[in-house]
Symmetry: C2
Subunit: 385 residues, 2 copies
C-alpha cells in the first residue's frame, strides 16, 4: 500500500455496499441509501477530541487526520457513503490566498479580493497535484482504510461560492461585496469564475484518480464499478443570487465542470463517477440543475419533495432534504418526518440526506435515529410497492 | 395640531399622490408607484448625521426623530410612499424584553428566551398604547409633516420572525435555537406565537388609528380614501422554515393578523387600509400568501416576476423585487434591470420596490436612478399597452 513512502492508489478492497452508487446511477435499490452532509463534524465528541487544539487547515493538510475524521461517523452509524474530510476553501488557498480559521468566527481571509486588479495576485496556473496533493493522499489512504465498506465521495466548492468567500473575506449575511462585483465588474467576475472552474476541474479529476483503481480495465465503462467514488459540487451561496444572476454567473460554470470532468476522466482512462450538484436555496433553478450534466441533484429543506420530483423529471436522482433542525426533535418525531420525506420522494432514484450540513449541537443519537429511520421506512415502502 | 401638549390625529392635509394606494387596492394607475424598504436608512448621509451618537432605540422612542428620518428620503426622491421609521424589535420590548443595539453587531437581547419557562417572564397582557404610544405619536406627527405628499406605511414584524429574534438573542445564520423550539416545544411555540399575534394586532390597529382621520365618516368604507395609510407585515425569517414548518408556525399567524386587524378596524369605525405581507424567501408558500388576506404580496429577488404572476393569480397586487445589490450597478444598467422587471410584472397591480431593504453602502444617486426608471418605464409601458 505504500511505495517509496508515499500512499499510492492501488489494490483497494472490494466495495461491499453499492447502494449509494446504484441510486446515484438510477438503478433499483433494496432500500434508500443515506449519508449526511458534514457527517464528519463537530457534533461527534470523537471529532472534537481529534481536532482539539489543532489548527483547522493543518488538519486538512494531514492525510492521516482527514482519514480518521472521515471514518469516525461510519463506526457509529450504518451510513451508505463516506465523504472525505476537507474544506471548500482549500481551493482559494491553492490559488495563493491566505485563509485562516478564527475560532468563534469561522474561516477568514486576511486579504480578500478588493479591486479587480487583485485578480493578478492569484496564481494564474495552478499545479493542483502540488498544491492539493494532500487531499489526494487523504483520499487514497481513506479508500484503503474504508476496507470497501461504502463508497467515498470527493467534493469541491463551486466557483460562485468560492468567489464570494474570496471577496467577502469570510461569512456574510448579504454577500453584498461579492454581488457588487457581479453588477459592477461582470467581465472580471467571469475571469475569476473561469480561473476557479479550471482549478476545480483538475481538482475533481485528481480526486477520482486518487480514489480510483489506477486506470485498470475493470473499473472503466461499467455503469456501477465497485471501485468508483462519487463527487459533489457545493454551490452553498446560490440563494444569494436571483434567477438571472445564477443563470449568468453560476450555472455556466456548474455545467462546464460536469462536462469537463467527465471528458477528462474518459481521456485519462479513469472510471466515470456519478456527480452531485447541491445548489443551496436555488429553488428558482431546479429545472436547469436537473439538466446540467449531474446524475444527482441535492436539495435544501425549503423544497417540497413532490414538487422537486415533478419539476426535475424521472431521469434524475434526488438527494436530500430533511431540515437539519429536525434532528432536534424527539426520535419518534424524526421517524415520522423521515417517513413523510420518503413518501414524498419515493424510495427509488433517491438518496436520503439532510438539506444542509449537520450542526455542531445536534445529538449523535438523533443522527443515528435519522439513518435507521431511512433504512427501515424505505425497506417497508419497497415491500409495499 | 397639538392638544394639551400631545400630538393628536386630526385635520390631516389632503393626500396629493394616491398612486401607491390605488395600486395596492387593485385600481388602474398612470404609472407604477415605487418605494424602497429601508428607504429611511444609513445609506443617506443626512440619516447618519441625525442618528449620530444617538442610541438606536432612543431614536425609535423620539417621535420627532422618527418623523425627520421618515421624511428624509422624500426630500431627495419622488417616492410614492413613506414608511414610518421604527424597528420590528419594539414589539419584544413591549413584551418586557431588553433589546440593545450593539454597533457593528446589530440588535442584541442580553437575556434571550432559553427555556420554555422563560415565557412566563413575558408580559402576558400588553397595554400597547402605553408601551408603543411613541410609535403612534411618531405616525401622527409624520402624517401632519408629510403634508399629504404621499401615504404613510406602518409596519410590524411577523410573529415567527420576532420569536426567532427573542430566542436567538440577535442575528443567526441558521436560526437553529429558534427552530429547535419549533421541533422540541411545538405547544410552547404556539403559545408564544399567539401572544405575539395578539400584541401585533393591537399594534397595527393602533398605527392606523394614529394615522387615520380619527374615525370621521369620510375615511370609512371608501375603497381608496385619501387619508388611509397602509400596513406591512415583515416575515423576514420565513426562508429558514421549510414548507411544513411555515404552514404550521408562520402562516396561521399571518392569516389571523390580516383578519383580526380588518375586523377591528371595522369595529372601531376606522378606515380600511391595504395590507402587505412580505415573507422573505418563502418561495414555497407564494400561493398560500396570495390567499392569506392581504391586498399585496411582497417578493424577494429570488422570485421570477412572471412566475410570481402566474402563481398568485390576477386578484392580488405584487410588490418588489429588484435585488438591492443591483443598485451597485452603473445607472444605465439599473435602468435596464428596472425595464425588465416591469415587463415581467406588468405595470398594473404592481408596486415597484427592492427585494429586501437598502444596504448602507448603496449610493443615494443610484436609488434615485431606480425610482426614476420605474416612473419613466412604467409610463412608457402604459402608453404602449
Amino acid at each position: 500500500m505504500e511505495k517509496n513512502g508515499s500512499i499510492v492508489p492501488a489494490e483497494f478492497p472490494e466495495l461491499k455496499n453499492e447502494t449509494f452508487l446504484r441510486a446515484a446511477q438510477g438503478e433499483q435499490t433494496e432500500y434508500t441509501p443515506v449519508w449526511c452532509m458534514r457527517q464528519a463534524g463537530r457534533y461527534l465528541p470523537e471529532f472534537r477530541e481529534t481536532r482539539a487544539a489543532q489548527d483547522f487547515f493543518a488538519t486538512c493538510r494531514s492525510p492521516e487526520m482527514c482519514c480518521e475524521l472521515t471514518l469516525q461517523p461510519l463506526w457509529r452509524f450504518p451510513l451508505d457513503a463516506a465523504i472525505i474530510f476537507s474544506d471548500i476553501l482549500v481551493v482559494p488557498q491553492a490559488l495563493g490566498m491566505e485563509v485562516v480559521m478564527v475560532p468563534g468566527k469561522g474561516p477568514t481571509f486576511p486579504e480578500p479580493l478588493k479591486e479587480v486588479e487583485d485578480l493578478l495576485k492569484l496564481q494564474q496556473k495552478v499545479d493542483v497535484a502540488a498544491e492539493l496533493g494532500y487531499v489526494f493522499q487523504a483520499i487514497t489512504l481513506t479508500r484503503h482504510k474504508l476496507e470497501g465498506k461504502v463508497p467515498l465521495i470527493g467534493f469541491s466548492g463551486a466557483p460562485w461560492t468560492l468567489m464570494s468567500y474570496m471577496i467577502e473575506g469570510g461569512g456574510s449575511n448579504t454577500m453584498a461585496k461579492a454581488k457588487a462585483w457581479l453588477y459592477r465588474h461582470p467581465e472580471a467576475s467571469h475571469r475569476l469564475l473561469t480561473l476557479l472552474t479550471d482549478v476545480i476541474v483538475d481538482y475533481l479529476v485528481g480526486q477520482v484518480a486518487a480514489g480510483a483503481q489506477g486506470g485498470t480495465e475493470e473499473g472503466r465503462g461499467l455503469k456501477v464499478a465497485p471501485m468508483l467514488q462519487a463527487l459533489q459540487l457545493f454551490e452553498s451561496h446560490a440563494g444569494h443570487l436571483g434567477p438571472e444572476q445564477f443563470a449568468e454567473f453560476a450555472l455556466p460554470s456548474i455545467r462546464s465542470i460536469a462536462k469537463r470532468v467527465k471528458n477528462k476522466l474518459l481521456e485519462d482512462a479513469l472510471p466515470a463517477v456519478p456527480m452531485i450538484i447541491f445548489a443551496k436555496d436555488a429553488h428558482y433553478a431546479l429545472e436547469d440543475l436537473a439538466q446540467s450534466g449531474y446524475e444527482v441533484v441535492g436539495l435544501d429543506w425549503t423544497i417540497c419533495p413532490q414538487d422537486a420530483r415533478q419539476r426535475t423529471g424521472k431521469d434524475i436522482t434526488l438527494q436530500g432534504n430533511l431540515d437539519p433542525c429536525a434532528l432536534y426533535a424527539p426520535k419518534e418525531k424524526i421517524g415520522e418526518l423521515v417517513k413523510k420525506m420518503l413518501e414524498g420522494f419515493g424510495s427509488q432514484r433517491y438518496i436520503a440526506n439532510l438539506g444542509h450540513g449537520l450542526y455542531p449541537d445536534i445529538c449523535p443519537e438523533h443522527v443515528g435515529a435519522f439513518v435507521d429511520a431511512v433504512h427501515i421506512h424505505s425497506r417497508h415502502l419497497n415491500k409495499c410497492s
